[in-house]
C-alpha cells in the first residue's frame, strides 16, 4: 500500500510564486524516504500541503488512500508532523503540549497519559514536564516537537529538518528512535540538509529543485545517475556546485617532525 501518493502537485501562492510545479512522489508503507533539496526548493511547501497547512492549487495527495482534501480527517489522523519551526504554544507546559496534541487527535485521557509518560521518558523530558515551554532551551524544544509529532502514533511521520541545530547526542538519539519506529512499521518522510543523515537512514531519496522532483532512487542510484562517487556529490551536481566536492579539496601537506 502507498503511504503517500502525490500526483502532479502544484502550489502557487497569491503573490504568484510557484512553490511546487507538478510534483509526483510515491512513498510505500513502511518506507524511510528522504526529500533533499536546497532552501526554497519546495520541501516544506510539499509537507504543508500534505498536512493541511497549505492548500494545493493543483494535483492530488493521498495518505494511505485518503484524499488529503476530501477526506482530510482520515488523512491527517495518519500523519505526525515535526515541523522545521519551533512552533510550540508558549502558554502550555511540556506535558500539556503532548496531552493537548493527542486530544486534538481524539485520543482518550488514559491513553494520552500513558503515551506522554512514555515519550517524555524517551526524549529525556520527564524532569521538564511541568515547565512552561517558553523556558526550554532550543534543543529541548526540538525534543518536544518530535515527541509531540509521535504522540498520536501516526502511521506516517514527517520530519522536516528535525536535526537542524541540535547537538550530536540528540541527533544520534533521534536516529536510533526513528530507525526503531520505522522497523516497527511507521513510514517516515525526512527532509534534511545533512546528506550523511539521509544516506544513513533513508531507503530511497528524492531530489527536489525549483518545485520539481528532479531525481529519485537509492543513494547509490542517485550517485550513478549523476555519475559521481556519492550522494553528496550527486547533490552538488544537482545544485550546480560540483566545484565544492570534497574530492577537489587538496590534502594539506604533512607537517614534518
Amino acid at each position: 500500500m502507498k503511504a503517500l501518493d502525490i500526483k502532479d502537485l502544484e502550489k502557487r501562492y497569491p503573490n504568484g510564486v510557484e512553490a511546487l510545479r507538478g510534483v509526483s512522489v510515491e512513498i510505500r508503507e513502511g518506507e524511510f524516504f528522504g526529500l533533499l533539496g536546497p532552501n526554497g526548493a519546495g520541501k516544506s511547501t510539499l509537507i504543508h500541503c500534505t498536512t493541511g497547512l497549505a492548500q494545493p492549487t493543483g494535483g492530488s495527495i493521498e495518505v494511505f488512500g485518503n484524499d488529503a482534501i476530501d477526506h482530510y480527517a482520515e488523512a491527517r489522523q495518519a500523519v505526525g508532523l515535526a515541523p522545521q519551526e519551533l512552533n510550540i504554544d508558549w502558554f502550555l507546559t511540556v506535558e500539556e503540549t503532548l496531552d493537548y496534541h493527542a486530544g486534538y487527535f481524539g485520543m482518550p485521557r488514559r491513553e494520552r497519559r500513558e503515551r506522554s509518560r512514555e515519550l517524555l521518558e524517551t526524549f529525556s523530558l520527564t524532569e521538564k514536564k511541568d515547565e512552561r515551554t517558553r523556558t526550554l532551551s532550543g534543543g529541548m524544544k526540538r525534543r518536544l516537537i518530535l515527541a509531540r509529532a509521535m504522540m498520536h502514533r501516526p502511521r506516517l511521520l514527517i520530519l522536516d529538518e528535525p536535526t537542524a541545530g541540535v547537538d550530536v547526542e540528540l541527533r544520534l538519539e533521534l536516529w536510533h528512535y526513528v530507525q526503531k519506529i520505522n522497523q516497527e512499521g511507521t513510514t517516515i518522510l525526512l527532509t534534511t540538509h545533512y546528506l550523511e543523515e539521509a544516506e544513513q537512514l533513508c531507503d530511497r531519496i528524492a531530489f527536489i529543485a525549483e518545485g520539481q522532483i528532479v531525481a529519485e532512487g537509492t543513494s547509490g542510484e542517485l550517485a550513478e545517475r549523476f555519475d559521481v562517487p556519492n550522494l553528496e556529490d550527486a547533490y552538488l551536481a544537482l545544485v550546480g556546485r560540483k566545484e565544492l566536492s570534497r574530492s577537489h579539496i587538496e590534502m594539506a601537506p604533512e607537517v614534518e617532525a
Binding site: 501562492y13 511547501t45 504543508h48 498536512t51 493541511g52 497547512l53 497549505a54 492548500q55 482530510y72 480527517a73 482520515e74 491527517r76 489522523q77 500523519v79 508532523l81 515541523p83 519551526e85 519551533l86 512552533n87 510550540i88 504554544d89 508558549w90 502558554f91 502550555l92 500539556e96 493537548y100 496534541h101 486530544g103 486534538y104 487527535f105 481524539g106 485520543m107 482518550p108 509531540r148
Partner: protein
C-alpha cells in the same frame, strides 16, 4: 466520549487554560475596571443623578456594564488568542489535526465566551450583594446575554483571523468597539440626548444589546424587545456563518 467530542473538548480546554494561566490580566483587570465604573458612576455620579426613568442610577448603569464586560472580554480573548497562536505558529498543531473548520471555530469562540461569562457572573454576583441588582425578565436576560457573548466571541475570532499584527486587534478594540459601546447608552438613556445624537444612537447596534440586557435586569427599555432579539440572533448567526466560511477556506490560517 467519541473522538470528535474529545477533540472539541481539548480545543476548548486549551482556550480556557490560556486565559486561566494569566488570570490577573484576563479576569482580575476587567473585574477591577468594572468595579471602578460602578464606584464612579454609581456612588459618585449616582448620588447626584439619583434616578433615571424612575430607576436608581446605579441599577440603570450596571446591566450595561455587565454586558460591556462580557462583550469586551469575549472579543479581546478570541482576537488575542488567535493572533498569538498565528504569531507563534502554534496554531499549526491544531490546523494539521483532523479537527473540522466548525470544531476549530466553535472552540475558539467558546474560549472568549467563557472568559466573558466568568467576568459577567462575578460582576452580577457582587452587584446583587452590594446594590441588590434585580432580575426582572430572566427569559429575556439569559438569551440576550448569551447572544451578546456569542456575537462578540465571533467578532473577536473574525478580527483575530484577519489581523496580521497586534496593532490590528488594538485598533478594532480601541477605535471601533469601545466607542460603539460607550456611545450605545451604557451610562445614560438615549432619550436624554439632544438631536441629532438621540437619532444617531439608534444606529448603534450595541444600543439595542444594552437595552435587551437592561430590560432583563431592571425592566426598562427604549427599544422593541422582540425585534432586538430577532436582529441580534440574525446578526450572530450571520457572523458565525462568515467565520465558518473563513475557516473552511483557511483564510489567513492556511497558506
Amino acid at each position: 466520549m467519541t473522538t470528535a467530542q474529545i477533540r472539541l473538548a481539548t480545543l476548548w480546554r486549551r482556550e480556557v487554560n490560556r486565559f486561566m494561566k494569566i488570570k490577573k490580566q484576563t479576569l482580575g483587570a476587567p473585574l477591577l475596571e468594572t468595579f471602578l465604573y460602578i464606584t464612579i458612576f454609581g456612588a459618585a455620579l449616582g448620588s447626584r443623578i439619583k434616578h433615571l426613568h424612575g430607576i436608581d442610577y446605579v441599577l440603570f448603569v450596571i446591566p450595561g456594564l455587565i454586558m460591556m464586560a462580557w462583550a469586551i472580554n469575549a472579543f479581546t480573548n478570541n482576537s488575542s488568542s488567535i493572533l498569538q497562536q498565528k504569531f507563534q505558529g502554534a496554531i499549526q498543531d491544531q490546523l494539521s489535526s483532523p479537527a473540522s473548520p466548525a470544531e476549530l471555530l466553535l472552540a475558539f469562540s467558546l474560549g472568549g465566551f467563557m472568559r466573558g461569562l466568568i467576568v459577567a457572573m462575578l460582576t452580577f454576583l457582587v452587584s446583587v450583594v452590594l446594590v441588590g441588582l434585580p432580575v426582572e425578565h430572566v427569559l429575556v436576560l439569559v438569551p440576550s446575554l448569551f447572544l451578546v457573548g456569542f456575537f462578540f466571541s465571533q467578532l473577536g475570532v473574525l478580527i483575530g483571523v484577519r489581523a496580521e499584527q497586534f496593532d490590528d486587534v488594538a485598533f478594532a478594540q480601541t477605535f471601533v468597539l469601545q466607542p460603539l459601546i460607550f456611545l450605545g447608552g451604557v451610562f445614560y438613556s438615549a432619550a436624554l440626548l439632544p438631536q441629532p445624537w438621540e437619532t444617531l444612537t439608534r444606529f448603534d447596534p450595541i444600543f439595542y444589546m444594552i437595552n435587551l440586557v437592561r430590560y432583563g435586569f431592571v425592566g426598562f427599555t427604549e427599544v422593541s424587545i422582540p425585534l432586538s432579539l430577532l436582529a441580534l440572533t440574525a446578526a450572530t448567526a450571520a457572523l458565525f456563518l462568515v467565520n465558518l466560511r473563513l475557516f473552511t477556506k483557511g483564510y489567513r490560517l492556511r497558506a
